[in-house]
Symmetry: C2
Subunit: 328 residues, 2 copies
């Protein structure tokens, strides 16, 4: 090889290396593989933030809403909030000797999920009532924080808050960098999420919409407290999601991400606004790194919303194809 | 007068003029008279924003909540939202010929407030139901915007949105300049406030907590809409205010301002937090420039909360004494 050629080759290699380096440094979404999905995100953000273009959205109106379970963190084999409730039953059992023989508590203490599920929603409701009511809001927040500090996911043996999706963390940060305000709109309990979402997602409590139970204002030893009651106040799921967005945010999002049929109405509501809109769905296609499920799943069923996404050209993330990395 | 003396005098006058000028330019609260109330506000803001001091509050936790009626704008002779409802009845009357003989609508159309009030809360409920339900959220927002554009207050002959308090506008801006996030927490309707509070107060819709009716998600001609139903969802008043703060904001405020007994629990809830707290009450003492009322008023009754403010040393604004100017 001639000296000049060698020099040119070295220069080319160096440039390539530098270019990779520069790319890694400047790519705000390094855990997203290049392709149509990533392009659709980056293009949308460029369009709504470029002044003077027809798709420009004023900063105050840049609202993005994200489902949580299955969209920002995993939801298998059971919703993490249900696992929290089951663990709370075990922790509370010493104070409730009667649970040893009383369903559905007995099933939980025996680890008999089949017996628990046989009781259907009524059993789940009883479990939720004793674990999510009867204490102050501050006491409840502490049980959530304590649980997250010690509980480990059965498959991955990691804290539940480490089973969040790295590509979605990058997406949240990328949107915020571009002046797009990020909200959670989840069927999960609002008070179950608020103690940790700021630390984990960078989303403050006041930007969390979720299901809730009633609270009651009371004076206790001269100090005001809010006690949680075993009475459903709001279910932020399905048609409840646009209602929740209207109630809590009062503006239609320009960007929405979900993963199941429970998000379909939120996606429809977002898509129906005038101007540029981004509608995204996380499709769980990666049994090896996470889980693969959709139309027949009991948790996070994705059927009608997938059909609508395909019909309307919404962005469907194929987890296996589009995500370089799943967890942090 | 000797030349040197004259020069000194002129210099002194010039300096005084400059100093006034500098003061006017830098005072963030020019419509507040100097005194204990203004000092308590400025001192509080300095304390919570000075890093390294025991009262420092991290930016994310700097939440301020304001009642609306009687705290940010006037509420006499009737709550402006009620006036909106009465005006809507008149506007809708041509489509409802039966109202000419049917109470409580007849009373409204006859301008007979006494007959209307004789029907009590039931009559008010009927008025609210037909004027605040049966349309989409977008249609309702338009009626509010249209009303504000044309309606004039009977005493001041000005648009209702000009009957906001100039000192409170300055206070809202001052807090935001210091990284304190401003929220409305009002007994008024959340959907009645959101169409105009951003323009008037600089408070975005997602930072408004208020009373609400149920909404229903529906498809209309293939387009999703939220229709307002004649069913109360939440009353954000009295003990409802801390519950509303917990539900919508999820953090305890460090700063709260109200004007009536309906704000007492919000003020208690705010005061009960650990660390520095500012608790303020607007006391309506100025019959000439605005109104004077407190313990015996039907609108904005201030009785128990005034006793508690006096007992606990909360900041009570004497409108006549403390405000240089009332309206913009």
């Amino acid at each position: 090889m001639q000296h000049a050629t060698r020099r040119a080759l070295l220069a080319a290699l160096l440039c390539a290396a530098l270019s990779i380096d520069v790319h890694a440094q400047t790519d705000p979404l390094p855990s997203w593989n290049d392709g149509a999905v990533k392009t659709s995100i980056v293009d949308f953000v460029a369009r709504v933030t470029t002044q003077g273009t027809p798709d420009f959205v004023p900063p105050a109106e840049r609202i993005a809403t994200f489902d949580n379970d299955g969209t920002l963190w995993s939801e298998q084999p059971v919703y993490f909030q249900l696992q929290f409730a089951l663990d709370r039953i075990k922790a509370m059992a010493p104070q409730h000797p009667e649970w040893k023989t009383k369903q559905p508590f007995k099933a939980v203490l025996d680890g008999d999920m089949k017996a628990l599920m046989a009781g259907g929603m009524k059993s789940i409701g009883q479990i939720m009532a004793v674990t999510h009511a009867g204490m102050t809001t501050e006491e409840f927040a502490k049980t959530v924080t304590d649980w997250l500090a010690s509980a480990r996911h059965p498959r991955f043996n990691r804290p539940y808050t480490e089973l969040v999706y790295q590509p979605m963390l990058e997406l949240l940060a990328y949107l915020r960098t571009n002046g797009i305000k990020t909200f959670i709109v989840s069927g999960g309990g609002i008070e179950f999420m608020r103690p940790w979402v700021e630390r984990v997602y960078g989303i403050p409590p006041e930007q969390v919409v979720g299901s809730s139970g009633m609270t009651k204002f009371q004076m206790r030893d001269g100090k005001p407290v809010l006690t949680k009651e075993a009475k459903v106040e709001f279910i932020d799921d399905g048609p409840g999601k646009p209602a929740g967005i209207n109630r809590f945010i009062g503006r239609r999002p320009v960007f929405a991400f979900g993963n199941s049929d429970g998000d379909q109405q939120m996606l429809q509501w977002t898509a129906a606004g005038s101007g540029a809109r981004f509608i995204g769905i996380v499709h769980h296609t990666d049994a090896e790194r996470e889980w693969a499920y959709d139309r027949n799943s009991h948790v996070g069923k994705l059927d009608k919303a997938l059909d609508e996404a395909n019909a309307k050209g919404w962005t469907v993330v194929d987890m296996k194809r589009d995500w370089r990395r799943v967890f942090p």
